[in-house]
Symmetry: C2
Subunit: 189 residues, 2 copies
DNA sequence: GAACAATTTGTACAAATGTACATGTGCTTT
DNA sequence: AAAGCACATGTACATTTGTACAAATTGTTC
């Protein structure tokens, strides 16, 4: 039939990519090696180099996946919102909830930023990611507000991960309210 | 006299620390090695290991210095402000101006975050840094607003460094105005 | 100026790493 | 069933790395 699976372990490549994120999360990019990845994926060393010409390629692939997943996730949550108020609620939930801003994700973000700074293709994907987030936000808010909210998600996320006592949900809501304005910049669709 | 300098190259240790930041900025923590640092500082390899027992120690020392410098710099700028309005102006300048949010500093920040996540002592210093920033801001704003502004500096800084067209100063001012409130949460001293 | 301790230097080496590659192994097509 | 091919595996190896260390050097103290 059409495009049948090739051989034995059809999802091996994908598994390697996913496991790479685990390794990065645990050891950092600095401590990420072919052998650790191979061990984590339970495949022989040669298998890792078979699918990815270079270690950088593999790490890049892993980060690309992370960016795309995050981007989709964010867009999905925003898409579920019907009006400005529920959009604001979604933002608050994204920042406060340990669903998205999990320690692991934050940590991977730091590694991603650092990595992207030295790998233009990855940087390009990050730009798309940011752009998508903004587009999603601009369904409910004007461009400037969208950017501010986007930055806020980033900033509070980071600070909360470092801070001993993270901001509470109510506080976050207050800030979001201030940025979006109680009665200015309407532009519903 | 009291505590005279020991030997030949009295500032060697300090120079090594500073040069380490250069190396990290250029190659990332991943690409930072004893030998590169030695070359950049124009000292023999043995000299690097003489002052710092381990490479991690050295990198940690370098990041600690970065954190302290940044912290002082931020506090100083805030201290110069006399009232809320000039404080707001200072914040806008910090975000927009390429003085503090230079590509190098941002890049080093990413590396620092990632590094701190795996090195508790460095994480502790980062907490102090954040705490200091907030205290500086709380001279002019209530605690919640201070946190929001702090996060905003972080978030916009990052996004601007990735984005193709950074936010203009006017836009930043608008957002800062919204967060600080035009006529709410006064608390001058 | 001899003893001393703090620095300085060059070299050595075991461990880890990225990558290459020769050799299997099992589908699929002819 | 033979051939072809994509995938799989284990091993090999040149490099790079962190770190140790013995030997020199230099200022300071007595």
């Amino acid at each position: 039939m059409s495009g049948g699976t090739k051989r034995k372990d059809p999802e091996r490549r994908q598994r390697i990519v996913e496991v790479t994120l685990d390794v990065v999360a645990e050891y950092g990019v600095t401590g990420t090696t072919h052998r650790r990845i191979a061990a984590a994926a339970a495949v022989p060393l040669g298998s890792v180099t078979y699918y990815f010409a270079t270690l950088d390629d593999l790490i890049a692939a892993a980060f690309l996946q992370l960016a795309e997943q995050s981007s989709e996730e964010f867009a999905k949550r925003m898409a579920m919102a019907g009006d400005r108020d529920s959009a604001k609620a979604a933002i608050v939930a994204i920042i406060a909830g340990s669903i998205w801003a999990t320690p692991r994700t934050l940590l991977l973000s730091y590694e991603l930023y650092a990595f992207a700074a030295r790998h233009p293709p990855v940087a390009a994907v990050m730009q798309r990611w940011m752009s998508n987030s903004r587009v999603a936000l601009e369904r409910f808010f004007d461009p400037l507000t969208a950017r501010a909210l986007d930055a806020l998600v980033e900033g509070i996320g980071i600070h909360n991960s470092i801070d001993t006592e993270p901001l509470e949900e109510d506080s976050i809501r207050t800030i979001v309210d201030r940025i979006t304005g109680i009665n200015n910049n309407f532009r519903q669709n």
